[in-house]
């Protein structure tokens, strides 16, 4: 069975640019966008590592920090009973990350959700569309600068004004 020390050593040997950290007891690897697919494929296909199961993929908006966004991926190795986290920084002016759907089909919906909520574009995704929000929704609701405030009820007399001011309805 793989232990954490061995995995850390193997990762730093194979990917010197990856920063090894800790996330409340789990191994966390901070990786650049250009190495993400390569690292994930290596973790999945290396026989002793066997990280074949993608638990979770989500976005985080660190407004005011550079890079602003982060995509967090959790992978599990079923034979080794081990979970690791991959953190990928995404800048605001170019919010793109290569897709993991070719390696892990289960990333499909989770990448769509992250796109829907944060506007992070997963390049090469087979159908990057909104999934939870309505198709005509404007803006990305889980970004920190998207207002949480209420939305005025649309009546005939104010309908045009409301739709003209979307998504930034009055707080």
């Amino acid at each position: 069975m793989l232990d954490r020390k061995t995995l850390e050593a193997r990762v730093s040997q194979r990917f010197p640019s990856v920063v090894i950290g800790d996330e409340s007891g789990d191994l966390a690897l901070t990786v650049g966008r250009m190495h993400l697919v390569e690292l994930a494929a290596w973790l999945r296909d290396e026989p002793e590592l066997n990280f074949k199961f993608l638990n979770n993929l989500c976005g985080v908006d660190f407004l005011g920090r550079e890079p602003r966004f982060e995509v967090v991926v959790h992978l599990t190795s079923i034979p080794n009973q081990m979970r690791i986290a991959l953190h990928v920084g995404v800048p605001e002016n170019d919010p793109t990350v290569p897709t993991l759907t070719r390696l892990f089909p289960t990333a499909n919906y989770q990448e769509r959700e992250t796109y829907d909520m944060f506007g992070i574009i997963f390049t090469g995704h087979p159908g990057l569309e909104r999934i939870l929000m309505p198709e005509d929704w404007m803006g990305y609701p889980q970004r920190k600068d998207h207002p949480l405030g209420y939305e005025e009820v649309a009546f005939t007399h104010n309908e045009d004004w409301i739709y003209a001011n979307k998504p930034f309805a009055k707080e």
């Binding site: 409340s24 697919v37 986290a85 929000m133 889980q142 949480l148």
Partner: protein, 421 residues
């Protein structure tokens, strides 16, 4: 690139608009009419508000895409504006059939983030309640699954036993479904004195009824005809699709977080994880029924331990996260301050993040919490098993009949509140 060769090209998960764009309409080679059928969102067999865009050729499914989001309530965004304790009530509403599992995932993610020790009695009680929740959820699954395949009476029997569990929840928490009983560091309050005898009675009453369901369905030829060999997912595809819970174990993958990454002391209980190998609807059914028997086994052990630990604490004595007992406030100034600080401001976990996955009735229910050092979480994300399991539906249903589609949805056991969050 190197890794292109090892992708899974056979698994496609289309979107509803892709179905509408790419569908071939008009008669096919055999003269059957082709069409795109919008099934749902108001359809009795979709277990909530799920819409399926189904491309049909006669009665055969050519392609399909689930369309979700009708129940989206922005729970993750709302939690960012509430303190850690106030957020707990929102987690109940994610998967409304298994509120305790949701509580547990969120609360234990915060505990992992803050490295809080939970007293043993609280852990035992949590295990007991989590297993009772599993029974509750599986009973609704069994009833509705059978109802979808036109077996009416199973529904009545299953809901009768579920009522018993809901009564126990009501006795314990005051609410039948939205229990909100877990707290960071333990539980909200102590058990009432009738609790242990009632659960004991339930454990005597319930197991024979599992045999009753089995009598009705397991060797029933109509049931077998609709389920054996239908909706098959191979083990490799199940892992690639991210299936978890009974859906994964019915495909022959022995993966249960209670065994693999134990939490709340599950490693000290004696129970088996049922694994079956055909990956069809029938095996998922058998797997969940067997899980119910195992849950009863765990509950018996937990109840015995609970009796031994009578009078112990139900929440941690770390006053920075858990409020002091009311009586202490009358004589201790420090307790009064803690109480005041907790209810006006809440506690502040250190900067950082934590992912915690638990084995909910539907699969791996994960919670990812990011803290920025303030009393409100910076980000909470839920890995909802129903949402991810639903991706397997197009893969299962291609080339099968529409009538089987209903059985496949039911066997994945989605709860649409959890899909949309």
């Amino acid at each position: 690139m190197v890794m292109q060769a090892q992708q899974y090209p056979e698994i496609e998960i289309p979107t509803p608009s892709q179905i509408a764009e790419t569908a071939n309409l008009g008669p096919d080679e055999e003269g059957e009419n082709r069409m795109v059928l919008s099934m749902g969102p108001q359809h009795p067999s979709t277990h909530g508000v799920l819409r399926l865009a189904v491309e049909l050729s006669g009665e055969t499914v050519v392609n399909l895409a689930p369309d979700v989001g009708y129940l989206h309530t922005g729970i993750e965004k709302t939690m960012e504006t509430k303190t850690y304790t106030k957020s707990i009530v929102l987690t109940d509403r994610i998967d409304y059939l298994a509120p305790m599992s949701n509580n547990m995932a969120y609360v234990s993610a915060v505990e992992k983030l803050m490295q809080i020790e939970v007293p043993e009695r609280a852990q035992v009680l949590r295990v007991l309640l989590l297993e009772m929740t599993r029974l509750n959820s599986h009973l609704v699954w069994l009833g509705t699954h059978a109802l979808d395949l036109a077996a009416m009476s199973v529904f009545l029997y299953a809901l009768r036993e579920r009522e018993y569990i809901l009564d126990i929840f009501e006795m314990l928490t005051g609410a039948r479904m939205m229990t909100s009983y877990f707290r960071v560091g333990g539980l909200a309050w102590d058990i009432p004195k009738d609790f242990i005898p009632t659960v004991e009675q339930f454990l005597d009453y319930f197991p024979p009824h599992i045999d009753e369901y089995e009598d009705l369905l397991t060797s029933n030829p109509l049931w077998r005809e609709r389920t054996v060999g239908v909706g098959v997912v191979s083990d490799e595809d199940a892992v690639a699709l991210g299936l978890t819970g009974a859906n994964l174990r019915a495909s022959g993958v022995n993966w249960d977080l209670r065994k693999a990454m134990p939490y709340s002391g599950y490693e000290t209980y004696d129970f088996d994880v049922p694994v079956l190998y055909n990956g069809d609807i029938y095996d998922r059914y058998l797997c969940r029924l067997q899980e119910m028997r195992e849950s009863v086994k765990i509950m018996r052990q937990a109840l015995a331990r609970l009796k031994d630990l009578a009078g112990g604490p139900f929440i941690t004595d770390n006053r920075k996260v858990a409020p002091p007992p009311k009586t202490e406030i009358t004589y201790s100034m420090e307790s009064l301050i803690h109480h005041f600080k907790l209810w006006t401001e809440g506690f502040r976990p250190a900067r950082g993040s934590a992912y915690m996955g638990i084995e909910s009735p539907r699969g791996e229910f994960g919670c990812y919490v990011v803290s920025d050092g303030t009393p409100k979480p910076w980000r909470v994300h839920f890995r909802a098993p129903s949402f991810i399991n639903l991706q397997a539906l197009p893969h299962m249903a291609k080339g099968k009949l529409v009538a089987d589609l209903v059985a496949m949805i039911a066997s994945l056991d989605p709860v649409l509140g959890e899909v949309d969050r």
